[in-house]
Each structure stands twice: as structure tokens, then as C-alpha cells.
Amino acid sequence: MASGKADGKVRGFQFSPWNLLLIIPLLVLITSLFNTDGPRLFGMPFFYWFQFVFVAVGVLCTGIVYAMTRDKPTSDRPDRLSVDELDEGDVK
């Protein structure tokens, strides 16, 4: 990722290779991968539990992208909010 300018501002289009992870959840659109009854899990056909598993895949991919790009590119202060501070709501 290109670094910011001297004044902390970024111009133009920014891209991080980590963003490519966001494509993985789209695999759930290929229905032929999972449109079968077996193997069942807890009595649930594959079609159903596969898609539930993909909720987790989506969270994982988006979470990694968030973690890997969090300090970039705009703020000079890193993102270190604790849970208690989250909703203080005052704009600094």
C-alpha cells in the first residue's frame, strides 16, 4: 500500500492486496457447489449448513481485511479504542 503524503492525507485510489480476501465469500454464489442433501449435519442438509458455515467465512475474510488495513491510510493516530470508549460519541 502506498503511504500517505507528508500532511497525512492520501490522494487517489488506494488498494491493499488484503482486499482480495473479500472475493472469497462470493464463492457462496456458486450454488452447484452445495446444492445437495448429503452429507447432513445435525439432520440439516448440506445445502443449509454449508451456507451457515459461509457466514463464518465472510466474517473471517472481512475481519482479516479490517485487521490488516486498520492503521492505514488516513489517520496519524492508530485505532486503539477500547470497548468502553466506543460509544463516547465525542468527535475529536
Partner: protein
């Protein structure tokens, strides 16, 4: 009004009263200097943190209607109804990056609506007007659908009169909602969303653990659903997709995901957040609701297994499948727990309805009133105008339900989804590039909307006997380009909105190339490249809510 379920109704009414109080108190919650500014009334001061945004967005995107209609679709059509699950799985990865850019540029330039952004990006009031009108038209029936969800619950509790009297409780609920939204703006749904979601999570977790164990486990539930679908003559239902509707499933999920954050109300919740990290965290955490949505969808099968019969709507005389989940709760749980579940769905209708009416009011105020009627409106006048518009929008939605068959608002919502998708090139793609010419975008919009409507008009619904607007699944066989059928003979089905969007993009590209060749002026771009990366701690951000 016979067999009213008093215990359920009392619990429902008590929780509703709590929420009403919250709605009024909300105006003072984290109040800025004034409520007479759209930044404050319409965006809650642009300072919501991660938790509030999570509840607000969750309350906004997963509506009462979703919670009622998705299981209803599973109940009647089977696997096809689960499209809502992949839809909410892919929406966050797709939307993460554009949402961040939209937040930044809106924060720097003071944009309140997607049409504001388009206005600034292309200097074209016309294009902005088209985006604003599309947003308002797509949002209105969506609000009406929240009422359909609320009514399904009321009907299950025995309030199922015919005529206007039967709608009276609904009207009362909506007047209360209208008044506190007028008073508190976006802070009201933000605060109420906490109550709604805690109730929803409580109910779903209990339901999803308790009901299968009572009905013989998931295996038995899926088998009973399969047995039901085997008995119907329709070839398109079943617990798995068939050869013809897989493409429809995937394109509907993708199209709906692309459309979701083009809806003005979802952007409202995004713009109300404090900074980019808040949005990022939310895109990671919001799928918790997807899990709930998926589990809720399965309640459609649970209802089959429990032999639920939908209630007949006394206003139309037809069975209302939207009542299957409420009836399931009513028949399987004790009255007090069913009352909590109904309150969760009922309050779940208020949160999105409030946000949607605020979003529509913002569009009206910023992109029609201020642009065409009163150019030099002060921020105070804008806020006043938006408050009034939010009232009108809500009563318009009530009128839909009172005077028109609710089925009509379901059809309109279907159309609305196709319409809002046509704003994708102007709103989402323009966040990244100004390659498209504004006249190309306008031409693409016209073709996308026009063709989308024509295709929807020509889709019949065999099950209900309707000749037009019978659904969003187009058989490729019927795909006609000026009478030419390029895919004749194929029975594969595809989502209409997706086809219209492809046409929209093609036309936009062609017109853009032509306009560039002819050197037609492409408007002035108000935005700077660094606007798209601004964040909450930047030193020279605009002040919020300043007159």
C-alpha cells in the same frame, strides 16, 4: 374482533409503551447544540460509535418484514427462500470499501444523501434528482412492508377486523412512531434498536433450541418439509434448488446485495457513524444478524413440521402466509413468551420504518426542496422541511396499507429493488471513477429502469393467477431484445434487476464514449481525491451541525 389473545396483547402493549418513552427521551440523548440541522436530526450528529451503529444498521437492514417474509417464503417455496442468507453473507465484503469512501467524502463535503454525492461529483442537479426520486419511490413501499409485518403480528393476536376499524391499532402505532421521529430524528430509532435486537436475539435463540427438540429434531423437520413439497404440483419448490432456479438464486442474492447499500436508509446509518473504523468493525460484526436471519428462515420449515395454518386476512379474505411465524409462536409457546416475540417483531417494524422515512425526507429536502423550490434555505429551514416530509412519507405508507391491498406494496417493493439497483453506476461506481459521463449515466438509468419495469410487468405468477408483476424471476427463454430472443428455449431463470443493470451499464458505456468523442461538458467535480480517505481525527474536517 373475536378471540383476542389478552396476555400476548398486554405484554406487547407494555413493551410498545417502553419504546415510545425511549423514542421521546432520545431527542436529548447525546444532543448537539441544536436539533435544527440535518446533521443532527437526520444523522444523529454524525457521531455514533461501533455499538450504536451496529444496532442501528442491524435494525435498519434486517426488518420486521424480513423476519416475517423470509420464513413465509421458505414455508411456501422451500430452498429458494434461503437466498436471503447468501445475500447477507456477501453484502458486507462487497460494500466495505465503497461504504468507507462514501462516508469520507460525505463527511468532508457535508453530504447527507447519495444524491448529494452525485450532485457534487457531476455538478448535475438532473442526475441527482433522478437518484433522489428513485430513492424515494423505492423506499415508500419498503416502509409499507414494515406495516405488513406489524399487521401479521396484530392479526395473530386476534386483531383481524375488516375495513378501516381493523387497521385502527396499526394507525395508532404509526402515529406514535411519526410523532417521536419528528421530535427526535435518527436518535429515536438508534435508541429503540437496542430494545428490538435484544428481544429478537432472545426469542430466536430460544426458538431455535426449543422448537426442534420438541418436533423431533432437524432431520424430521426437513423431511416433513420435503414431504409437503413433494405433494404440491409445482416443480419449483423443494428443500433443494432445481436445475432452473439456481441462476435465479445466485443473481437474486447478488443483485439484492448490490442494491442494499444503495437504499437511502442504509447510507443514512453509515453516514451517522463517527468514523471509518466504526464502519469497518460493523462490516465484520453485522453477519451476526445473518446467522439470526438464516435460523429464522428455517422456522418456515419448523412451521410446516408443526402443521401451522396461515391466518385468513379478513380484509382480503385470503390466507396470509406472512402469519406463519407468528402463528408458530402462538401455538408452540406460552402466551407471555409469544407476547415478547410479537413485541420483538412489532418494534422491529418501527426502527427501519423510522430510518427509512428519515432517509426519504432527507432526499426530499436536500435534492428537491433545496435544489428546486427554495435555493437559499437555511439549515434550520431544511431541518423543519425534513421533519414535515418524514410525517408525510409515513402517512403515505399507512395509506398504502389502508386503502390498497397489502399485496400491492409487496409487488411495489419488488419493483423498488430493481429500481434502486439502477442507481449503482451513478452512486457506487462514481465513488471510484469519474470515467462515466453524466449523460451516459442518465441514459443508462433510463434504459435500466424502463427495461426493468417492462420485464417485471411481463412476468406472470401461476400460483396466484396474476398476469403481471408476478415475481422477479425471468426465464431466459422470454428474454427479448426488441423482439429478438437470443436465449430461446432455455428454462433457466434469472433475476430481472441483474439483467436491467447489465443493460444499464452497457448503455452508460456507449453514451459515455459518444459524449467524450463529442467533447460534451461533464460537469464540475466538487470533490478532491483526498476527500475519499478522510477520517474522524483529521484536523480540518467540517464542523457538524453548524449553521
Amino acid at each position: 374482533m373475536t378471540n383476542i389473545q389478552w396476555p400476548e396483547l398486554i405484554i406487547f402493549a407494555v413493551l410498545f409503551a417502553v419504546v415510545t418513552v425511549l423514542g421521546f427521551v432520545a431527542s436529548r440523548w447525546k444532543a448537539g447544540n441544536t436539533l435544527d440541522h440535518l446533521d443532527e436530526w437526520g444523522l444523529g450528529g454524525r457521531k455514533f460509535g461501533s455499538w450504536i451503529t451496529w444496532f442501528l444498521l442491524g435494525g435498519d437492514l434486517y426488518t420486521a418484514y424480513t423476519f416475517v417474509a423470509v420464513p413465509a417464503l421458505m414455508f411456501s417455496a422451500g430452498a429458494m427462500g434461503l437466498f436471503a442468507l447468501p445475500y447477507t453473507i456477501i453484502v458486507y465484503p462487497i460494500v466495505l470499501m465503497p461504504a468507507l469512501r462514501m462516508w469520507s467524502v460525505s463527511r468532508v463535503r457535508g453530504y447527507v444523501t447519495p444524491a448529494d454525492f452525485v450532485r457534487g461529483r457531476f455538478g448535475s442537479p438532473t442526475l441527482a434528482l433522478l437518484i433522489a426520486i428513485t430513492g424515494i419511490i423505492a423506499t415508500m413501499p419498503y416502509i409499507a412492508l414494515q406495516l405488513v409485518g406489524l399487521e401479521a403480528v396484530l392479526r395473530t393476536m386476534g386483531i383481524n377486523g375488516s375495513g378501516i376499524v381493523g387497521h385502527l391499532p396499526l394507525l395508532v402505532a404509526f402515529i406514535i412512531l411519526a410523532v417521536y421521529t419528528y421530535q427526535s430524528g435518527l436518535r429515536a430509532p438508534a435508541l429503540i434498536a437496542f430494545v428490538k435486537d435484544i428481544l429478537i436475539y432472545l426469542v430466536i435463540i430460544v426458538a431455535i433450541i426449543y422448537l426442534p427438540s420438541k418436533l423431533g429434531g432437524w432431520s424430521a423437520i426437513f423431511d416433513s418439509a420435503q414431504a409437503k413439497f413433494d405433494k404440491t404440483p409445482s416443480p419449483s419448490d423443494g428443500i433443494l434448488l432445481n436445475a432452473n432456479n439456481q441462476l435465479q438464486y445466485a443473481t437474486l442474492a447478488l443483485g439484492s446485495a448490490l442494491a442494499l447499500f444503495l437504499y437511502p436508509h442504509s447510507l443514512t446509518s453509515v453516514l451517522a457513524s463517527r468514523g471509518r473504523s466504526v464502519i469497518k468493525r460493523n462490516m465484520v460484526a453485522l453477519p451476526a444478524y445473518s446467522l439470526v436471519l438464516g435460523l429464522l428462515a428455517l422456522l418456515g420449515y419448523v412451521a410446516i413440521s408443526a402443521s401451522v395454518k396461515p391466518i385468513t386476512n379478513n380484509a382480503t379474505g385470503k390466507p396470509d402466509t406472512n402469519t406463519v411465524v407468528p402463528v408458530l409462536f402462538d401455538s408452540q409457546f406460552s402466551a407471555w413468551f409469544a407476547g415478547i416475540a410479537f413485541a420483538a417483531i412489532g418494534i422491529g417494524a418501527l426502527v427501519p420504518a423510522a430510518i427509512m422515512s428519515i432517509a426519504a425526507a432527507n432526499l426530499w429536502t436536500r435534492n428537491i426542496y433545496k435544489e428546486y423550490i427554495k435555493k437559499n434555505a437555511t439549515p434550520g429551514q431544511e431541518a423543519k422541511q425534513a421533519k414535515l416530509a418524514s410525517l408525510i412519507v409515513k402517512f403515505g405508507a399507512v395509506a398504502f396499507i389502508l386503502f390498497i391491498d397489502p399485496q400491492f406494496s409487496i409487488d411495489l417493493q419488488l419493483i423498488g429493488g430493481v429500481l434502486i439497483l439502477q442507481t449503482l453506476p451513478a452512486v457506487a461506481i462514481s465513488l471510484y471513477t469519474r470515467w462515466f459521463h453524466r449523460w451516459g449515466l442518465i441514459a443508462g438509468w433510463v434504459v435500466g429502469i424502463g427495461w426493468g419495469l417492462i420485464m417485471l410487468y411481463n412476468i406472470p405468477n401461476a400460483a396466484t393467477g396474476k398476469a403481471h408483476f408476478g415475481g422477479s424471476a425471468l426465464a431466459l427463454d422470454k428474454l427479448s431484445i426488441f423482439g429478438w430472443h437470443p436465449l430461446s428455449g432455455s428454462q433457466l431463470q434469472i433475476y430481472v434487476g441483474f439483467v436491467a443493470l447489465v443493460a444499464n451499464l452497457l448503455v452508460a458505456v456507449i453514451f459515455t464514449v459518444v459524449a467524450r468523442q463529442m467533447k460534451v461538458f461533464n460537469g464540475t467535480d466538487d470533490t478532491e481525491p483526498e476527500d475519499y480517505h478522510a477520517d474522524e481525527h483529521d484536523k480540518d474536517l467540517r464542523e457538524i451541525g453548524v449553521h
